[in-house]
């Protein structure tokens, strides 16, 4: 055996074996039972463009989460001051980071300032301002706390969305944070993308609010502590939406955080689905108190500022459970139950990107893409065999090795194969052939100069080495940049391309050479089939 051929052959065969091992999980739908332990389980998954599915990018409106926290502080302060008999004119959130308190008297101001200092240590007190004889105090949230709140809001939103998707039932979803305030959701193979988008994007803030009796929602003054919300009912036949306005108290008596469960039930009387909810002990107690104190009055069940229903409280309800009825179909009821169970999002999210590929288009793409790839490879194989004869076959072997190694590497990384990824493989075929063409043309030149096959081969590989190196490095630069800046399909392309470039360097400089060396080593070879 020629010098140095041994370890090269070992390396080539080793890589073949490794690629095959890594490809097993991809090619076998069911792994055999003995396939465990250190053996790889990752496989090449198909991109959404090939198997169909939805890719969403959502932005969490984190500022809303900060505002929500400040609103809570304001409500809490109102309660505390009332309980301590400290009179105030108004407590409300102002701007993006403050709660302002307006008081009537200097004496209370001192007491309130002390209270604020004790109770809200994390907040800064901004110097008090006098306005029209009254005293204004401001509580400011610190910048790092704001950042922290925003950060947590995104983390919470991510968790909530994950819960919802789990309950909705999607196999192998990808849910990940991107950048500061974005969440990427990938739902492969989903049948009803619209429904999923609605389900994920819904804030699902459930509130129970008392209806203000005796105030007309359409005309006249709305009291400062009340607001107008609408009940929207769409007619299932015509699709027309009718709106009923309600004047409700701004302050929610009970909120969705106090729920432990939500289930779809069917009303036996009207055969109409509704959502039955269970409160936790605090919620149950509150619900008990509220219903006891307001028998005969109406309260509104509000979800994301839409009134779902506004029933009259007939009697005290102490079991800790309630029901939300409304104009539900089975699907909408089950979706509502899911979002209630998974909890509300800490802040609204906005879908800023949605790429959905139908399953049939995906199937079409992969069938045609693979077909095209196969035909491309075959054309090149035939061409090389005709043009370079035996040497062409060696080049073809190198190309097949390239493809095998690339697939193995993709499987080992658990990479995703996209349509541009298939294109990259086809390009790799071109590149793989190119390296060999550079070498072979060089060998032919050397042969023409009258060198022996062995000398021509050595010279060909040596001279071609630098050229191949240079061309691969430049190609790698572009591939790396594509990887860094690309998204989705482009990234898939870049991954396949960069791996391909590196693998091709190995096969063209080591892989095919070994075969020639072995061949030439057997005594005097007079003629090279090239």
């Amino acid at each position: 055996m020629p010098k140095g051929a041994g370890w090269r052959i070992t390396l080539i065969i080793g890589f073949i074996a490794l690629s095959c091992v890594y490809l097993v999980p991809t090619l076998m739908p069911q792994l055999p039972s003995w396939w465990k332990g250190l053996l790889p389980k990752d496989k090449i998954s198909l991109g959404l463009d090939l198997q169909g599915g939805t890719h969403l990018v959502m932005e969490v409106e984190t500022q809303k989460a900060v505002e929500g926290t400040l609103d809570l502080v304001a409500t809490d302060l109102e309660d505390t001051l009332s309980a301590k008999n400290l009179r105030y004119k108004r407590i409300s959130r102002t701007g993006a980071d403050k709660v302002s308190i307006v008081l009537y008297e200097k004496e209370t101001a001192a007491a309130v300032q002390k209270l604020l200092k004790d109770k809200y240590r994390d907040y800064e007190q901004v110097s008090s301002v006098e306005e029209g004889g009254m005293i204004g105090l401001q509580l400011r949230m610190k910048d790092e706390d704001i950042q922290d709140r925003k950060d947590k809001a995104v983390a919470q939103a991510l968790e909530t969305i994950r819960n919802r998707i789990d309950q909705f039932g999607v196999s192998e979803p990808v849910i990940a944070r991107q950048g500061i305030n974005q969440i990427v959701v990938q739902l492969p193979g989903i049948k009803d993308p619209q429904r999923a988008i609605d389900l994920i994007g819904r804030t699902a803030r459930l509130e129970f609010k008392m209806v203000k009796e005796g105030v007309s929602p359409t005309g006249g003054m709305i009291p400062e502590d009340a607001e107008v919300l609408y009940e929207r009912i769409s007619d299932p036949v015509t699709g027309a939406v009718s709106e009923t306005p309600f004047v409700v108290q701004k302050k929610a008596l009970i909120t969705g955080d106090l729920l432990t469960d939500a289930q779809v039930r069917i009303d036996s009387q009207f055969n109409q689905p509704y959502v039955s909810i269970e409160f936790n002990s605090l919620g149950g107690r509150l619900f008990d108190q509220v219903t006891a104190a307001n028998v005969g009055k109406r309260f509104a069940i509000v979800l994301d500022s839409n009134v779902y229903s506004a029933p009259v409280i007939r009697e005290r309800i102490s079991g800790g459970s309630a029901q939300i009825s409304g104009n539900f179909t089975e699907k909408t009821a089950s979706d509502l139950a899911i979002v209630l169970r998974a909890g509300a999002l800490p802040a609204p999210v906005k879908v800023i990107q949605n790429v959905t590929v139908g399953a049939s288009l995906g199937k079409d793409s992969i069938d045609k893409g693979l077909m095209a790839g196969l035909v491309g490879v075959l054309l090149v194989i035939v061409f090389m065999a005709i043009y370079y004869k035996m040497s062409g076959l060696v080049a073809n072997l190198g190309m097949v090795l390239n493809i095998l190694y690339l697939m193995g590497a993709l499987a080992a990384l658990g990479a995703t194969l996209t349509l541009p990824g298939i294109a990259a493989i086809v390009l790799l075929v071109g590149m793989s052939v190119d390296s060999n063409v550079i070498i072979f043309e060089r060998i032919r030149e050397e042969l023409r100069l009258g060198k022996s096959p062995k000398a021509a081969l050595d010279a060909g590989y040596d001279r071609a080495f630098l050229t191949i190196m240079d061309s691969h490095v430049t190609a790698l630069i572009t591939a790396a940049v594509l990887f860094q800046f690309g998204t989705g399909p482009v990234k898939g392309f870049a991954v396949s391309l960069s791996l391909g470039i590196i693998i091709n360097l190995f096969t063209s400089l080591t892989g095919t050479r070994v075969i020639f060396d072995l061949f030439l080593h057997r005594g005097q070879v007079k003629k090279l089939s090239i």
Binding site: V57, V357, K368, A372, L379, P420, F485
Partner: protein, 315 residues
Amino acid sequence: MFEIFGKTKLNIDFIGKRKFSFVISTIIALIGIFAIVQIALGNANLGIDFTGGTSVQLQFDKPVALADARKALHDGGLGEVELQEITDGNKLLVKLGKKNQLAVGKAAEVIPAAFAKALPGLQVTVDSTTEIGPAIGDKLRKDTLIAVAISMLGIICYIAWRFDFRFGIGAVAATLHDILAMFAVYYLFGKEFNLLFITAVLTIAGYSLTDTVVIFDRIRENLHKDLKGALHTIFNRSINETLSRTIITSMTTFMAAGALFFLGGSVIHDFAFALLTGVLVATYSSVFVASPVVIMLEERAQRKADGAAQAPAAV
């Protein structure tokens, strides 16, 4: 041996034809620049990845006339739409600009509903939906520009390091030429400029460089061998010597990309088209642009060195 050029030793005067090829290349590059200006002005067929907006691909069970489709969407409250028929099957691509006040996530609902209402009895399937918020479009556009700039810069540095500054300029001139040519062809054919196109452009940039580098390598080798020969002759000889490789590689890559173009399906069709165009212009430019530019620079430098008194002649 089966060879393209047989045993005849080729001696085509590529460098001597540079005036001719420079004129052609200038025209192509000008069209390319014009196309880019049109893109910047928003007059070109830009993909929604860059503009933001919505595109929905629909499939019908029977043919629908474009006028009917437009009317259906108009009645559905979607005024400014761009419609594009897809050749295989009864497919239609509906594009809405970002001016449409349709919330992201709603298009797949609203658009089929509009068809169902206007043309009862028609089966509408949504093949794919792409909705890009304006913020994302801006970000993608910016990222793409950065990506192109960085990869170009990286390549100049590499070539300048491996060869010589003038070679670096020659390589980049050829690559830029190819990029502009791809923009020009895409623009003239009215194809959509989108992320996949940019991917194709960057790929071809890499391919074109490979082509150029192979020739440069040979020039460098021949320069070392023959220190006294005229640059003109050495450059010509190098291009001729590598010509069969240039053609064979282009042919095989063309075959592979051609298979994608003819058989790859609708999604990848335009991408493959861009690759095919790119392979052709990259082959041309590595022969007719890269080395002639280097020679032009070398000769100019030599004239400057020979005598500062002589005014440099225009090329």
